[in-house]
Symmetry: C2
Subunit: 492 residues, 2 copies
């Protein structure tokens, strides 16, 4: 298999798929639409998980685990939610296989093992969780409930792409219960903020915080808060959402609490989630034609050492020095790989670690040993510098910080350069068709206009930015009065 | 709900179920046989996961993720494995629901959305993983593959019990591929050793390492290595298994590698797993009539502070002291809870934290403040001691270590006291029926005898201990020649 990738300018989508497979992140499986997350890809996901989990716990949440299956009667209890997910859910109807009498060595579904009630493989867990919360909540003293779950979910999507849209994916889903509306709204906004901080400070991926329009909301939510990122091809990616669910689920599952005054009130809900889709966002924010580019904070390997030697003796001397420097770096929390393979030439190793996005590569050869130097190469800029060995640790530590910042700034500049304010629909169409990116435009607030624009341009309203200024304006499509700009884009 | 538990001597099984629910570990869900793992229970599981994951990584394994579903054609490829799991697997047959035309607001399976091939919800992942490994393995350079997966699996068990046997459970499953038989056998033994170390050093649960007899092996394995623990009611618990799978899966999925010499050889396999069942083992090894007893290394809360005060002023002074000592303990890695609730009396708090198994409770009252003392109570022995505040940190740290050791020793003594060597079948039946525990006896090596004994006594061969001595003997049932004693017990 050639390690070379299709160029992004040639075919962005092909480049993406090739990168995901060749950098050992994930691959398609024998199950339609389901992926295998390979060890290197999973190691990145584990770093994301660990940081998110920490942030959830710091904001007072605990983890728990709820069943994979949702009985049909619970699934359909909250009407909008059920309607939103019914079209794409995997259904378990039987609980046993038996030997097929007509085909030797084959199994068939045992018709005598039909379930009385079908089980839906969870596409999201509001139903099963609120049915559980019902028993946990009696009085105001039982609130708030602040729970998160790390789990797999299944949505039977027809068109799938590795990480971005798969039938099964991994995610976390927070489900909280509150005594008051204000508290629930504050919780959903807080989690949007946590997601934005994670995206920007760890993924180095700038995001816009906003609210979804009614037609783009989560099924069953009164408000969906989103973080939206811009990919290198000018398409937007919804990277995380936090929903204010009002009392819809409390009503559907009859979850009430006794107030201090002894009154019975319905409970207020939120839910919020990010998924392995973030992996797609990470890849498409930073990577280039040579492969993956990883922000140091999420790189499973931050520094790779490649020895350059002609004989065993040289190798031994280099290995000794590498071990010495590695130990110092490890003590500072830097993760290291020493690529000792004798089956590959240094050039091939360089290409492989570039493909895999390791932020820093350190080459050490015989001449370096003589001169007391080594060569540090940045993955993001390909810049190389020769550094005195005694300065290696300090240089690495500082470069890792620099790269983290530079990646964010580069992505932010790209995002800003590709966010265009427009005031006419001709300009709107032109930008969406030719430049791409976010288009900031006035909208009259109707679903009708929103749908019409989508139909004509394939652009959707990504969000109503939380920090949108109040300004007098006219809807870019209908000419009706508007007081705020919203962000449009084509999206993943 | 009364917090008091049924006594173990009254009804062990009832005691167990009550404890699991009342200590907030888990509860039954709306889905038959599936449990909800509550935050406190999940926090213990997370501690187990973190430690096991560390041990897997230290032994060279990486994590990855494979699909939840196994297409029927892959599922049935390895015959013994398929046969072993066919009787209890959940089957997805459809991928969409639609509005039921006959029942308003209800959904029904959409008959037009029938899958061409049924999908089995994984009961274990050998099939899907070996179908993937096929593409990953070409040459000896691709071996070994050392992968672990943390996942949920489903086995449609008819009789379920929280943690011990549930339709869905959480587990880890290692799946490794090797060039040689020796390497694969060594791997499976190594992982058995890792499990035993985890059980003994972290769960404080002594285990016997052994091999399963043919009839007790994992479906598709050539050898199953097990760790077996003894619960307080004299029944054994299989706590973890590691399988040498030979070339069965390589053959079924045609997974071959080119040797250095260019020959094509079938790959050798192992798989190994432990699950949330360990939670059941943990509970039944240490807990008592007052509730859960946790070994400090797995306790989410190691020390709980309960203030005893009559007025706000006293509370403030106590809180100040608690914060001071807490900070010192936290710096030493001890996890703390300060129970400030003003809705409960100290006695009620004591009972609650006893129920939840917090290893140490520290009470601090107004008189303690005057005297510069505090009272430390051990959960495992109920021993209390008054300690000078300046000695609190050192005492706590040392007591946590002591408790960890004491729990192991107590459980080991119990296990040893309840392991009986017997040489006649009358004695065998008597011990199994009246005393319980492990029975060490000679066995003639035939499945026939094994089945007969099971039929007559409900005892099964838990394992052939790895350290069993060679000795001349006669089968306890058939009188045939035997060279080794094996361990029998009734089991969970």
């Amino acid at each position: 298999m050639s390690k070379k990738l299709t160029k992004r300018t040639e075919d962005y989508s092909k480049w993406y798929n090739e990168l995901v497979v060749k950098a050992d992140l994930a691959e398609n499986s024998a199950v339609r639409g389901c992926m295998v997350i390979k060890p290197y890809g999973y190691a990145i996901w584990e770093k994301m998980q660990a940081q998110l989990d920490k942030m959830f716990k710091e904001t007072g949440h605990e983890n728990a685990y709820f069943p994979l299956f949702v009985p049909k009667s619970l699934f359909e209890a909250e009407e909008k939610n059920a309607e939103g997910f019914a079209k794409e859910c995997a259904v378990v109807t039987h609980y046993r296989l038996k030997t097929d009498p007509d085909k030797e060595g084959k199994l068939m579904v045992d018709p005598n093992a039909k379930l009385e009630e079908e089980l839906i493989v969870r596409p999201t867990s509001e139903a099963i969780i609120w049915n559980t919360y019902k028993n946990w909540i009696q009085s105001y003293r039982d609130l708030p409930i602040l729970i998160n779950q790390w789990a797999n979910v299944v949505r039977w999507e027809m068109r799938t792409r590795l990480f971005l849209r798969t039938a099964e994916f991994l995610w976390q889903e927070g489900h909280t219960a509150h005594a008051t509306k204000d508290e629930a709204v504050a919780e959903s906004l807080q989690m949007q903020k946590v997601y934005a901080e994670f995206a920007e400070d760890f993924m180095a991926m700038p995001v816009v915080k906003g609210a979804k329009t009614e037609s783009e909301r989560f099924a069953g939510a009164l408000d969906t808060y989103t973080i939206e990122a811009l990919m290198q091809d000018g398409k937007a990616l919804q990277a995380g959402t936090s929903h204010f669910l009002g009392q819809n689920f409390a009503e559907a599952f009859d979850v009430k609490y006794a107030t201090k005054e002894g009154k019975q009130e319905l409970v207020w809900a939120t839910s919020w989630g990010v998924s392995t889709r973030l992996m797609g966002g990470l890849i498409m924010t930073h990577s280039d034609d040579a492969g993956l580019v990883l922000p140091p904070k999420l790189a499973p390997i931050q520094v790779v050492f490649v020895p350059i030697y002609k004989n065993e003796e040289q190798f031994e001397a280099i290995a000794k020095k590498v071990t010495e420097i590695s130990n110092e770096l490890k003590a500072k929390g830097v993760s290291i790989k020493f690529d000792k393979r004798d089956t590959l030439r240094p050039g091939a190793k360089f290409a492989e670690w570039e493909l895999k996005g390791v932020p820093l590569r350190i080459a050490l050869g015989a001449r370096d040993l003589e001169n007391g130097t080594l060569e540090i190469a940045r993955r993001d800029t390909f810049e190389k510098q020769s550094v005195a060995q005694e300065d290696a640790v300090a240089t690495v530590v500082s470069l890792l910080e620099t790269i983290q910042e530079d990646l964010f700034n580069k992505a932010k500049n790209y995002r800003d350069d590709n966010t265009t304010e427009v005031d006419t629909f001709d300009e709107f169409k032109d930008i969406i068709a030719n430049k791409g990116g976010f288009v900031s435009a006035h909208w009259d607030g109707t679903a009708e206009t929103e749908n019409k624009i989508k139909e004509l341009t394939k652009a959707t309203i990504r969000c109503i930015p939380l920090d949108a200024l109040e300004e007098e304006g006219k809807c870019v499509y209908s000419g009706q009065k508007s007081t705020k700009r919203v962000l449009f884009a084509k999206a993943y």
